[in-house]
Symmetry: C2
Subunit: 200 residues, 2 copies
């Protein structure tokens, strides 16, 4: 049971979901296929806006979103989470790097590196020097990754992934695609679980 | 364990939640205190907009909201639900009627009447004649209800309830208030359940 996981490290909710996926996989037998996308591209293509812009003047809603996020953190013991002070972050190179790392058979290590840097260590990964330094420190081949990131092929692949997500109905991240159905956000994993069970 | 249930029949999600509350009460031991409010007032006081306005030009998000609602309906076997063709509906008299019915010790019957009329029978309850006719047919004292609805006291009470909800942090319905914490929407009932358990 393969499930596409539409992902951009830009979103704290994508982080939250990423952290609970191993448990979800064990429980359900699902296998997640990470599809790196550009959240900004999804927003642009669908006319959508992230909550911090769409509801910037709805104080109680903004406050509740933090409350709700903190409950999720507590429930799942995501004790390492730190809200990044550089949010919102430009993630185009970081996301292209996921595709480069896949080519280099280093996807999991790269993913863990960016996940911890952005949402656990408050690192400004949009800064190019900081970004490549963090990759080096994680034992990743930053020079090779940099090279691939700047190829047209890599840029086109990220665009294609983003278009794939939008064509499937995504309007934000995290989004899951299973059996041509989409499941959005960290609040509807129970619905994904129901769909997985029903398909068995 | 008393939980305030901030409620306006205007919202299909308030209907959805209302239908699953009896199960929730049995399971958790919680008791819900219905607080009739005016959703339009909550929106106005918090600068919020309902999704169908805030995301009117985000086609895939609008489509997903219906998908997600249909999954909820299926999961909880809410087979009587019909989306009201008069949506969005002006509910100020209907909501004042809840307060009137309370005074007349007919709250539950009145609630069942408006719930089924608006979200199961596609009745245009914003139309005054239709509204009072539906009350009569349900065996309710429409004349007495009408009289109370038009008192300043009843109008003020609905305003006060709405202000109470907003002061507690509500920005929409359904919202639950427990121990000075709010829980919004039909997707966060698990978080309310966790809070109830933790308080035992």
């Amino acid at each position: 049971m393969k499930v596409d996981f539409i992902f951009d490290i830009a979103s704290p909710n994508a982080y939250m979901v990423y952290k609970i996926l191993p448990d979800f996989e064990r429980r359900t037998g699902a296998q997640f296929n990470y599809v790196p996308c550009l959240l900004g591209g999804i927003m642009h293509l669908t006319n959508n806006k992230p909550p911090f812009l769409a509801f910037s003047d709805v104080e109680s809603k903004m406050k509740y979103q933090m409350t709700e996020m903190n409950r999720f953190i507590k429930k799942h013991s995501l004790n390492k989470f730190q809200f990044n002070s550089n949010f919102p972050m430009k993630t185009v190179n970081i996301q292209r790097g996921l595709l480069a790392a896949k080519e280099l058979d280093a996807f999991d290590d790269y993913l863990e590196c960016i996940v911890s840097a952005v949402w656990e260590k408050n690192i400004d990964m949009a800064d190019e020097n900081t970004f490549y330094k963090a990759l080096d420190e994680a034992g990743l081949e930053s020079e090779k990754i940099k090279e691939i990131i700047h190829t047209q092929e890599c840029k086109d692949k990220l665009i294609a992934n983003t278009q794939y997500a939008v064509d499937a109905g995504a309007f934000g991240v995290p989004t899951f695609i299973f059996n041509n159905e989409i499941f959005f956000g960290k609040d509807h994993l129970d619905q994904l679980e129901d769909a997985l069970k029903a398909s068995k």
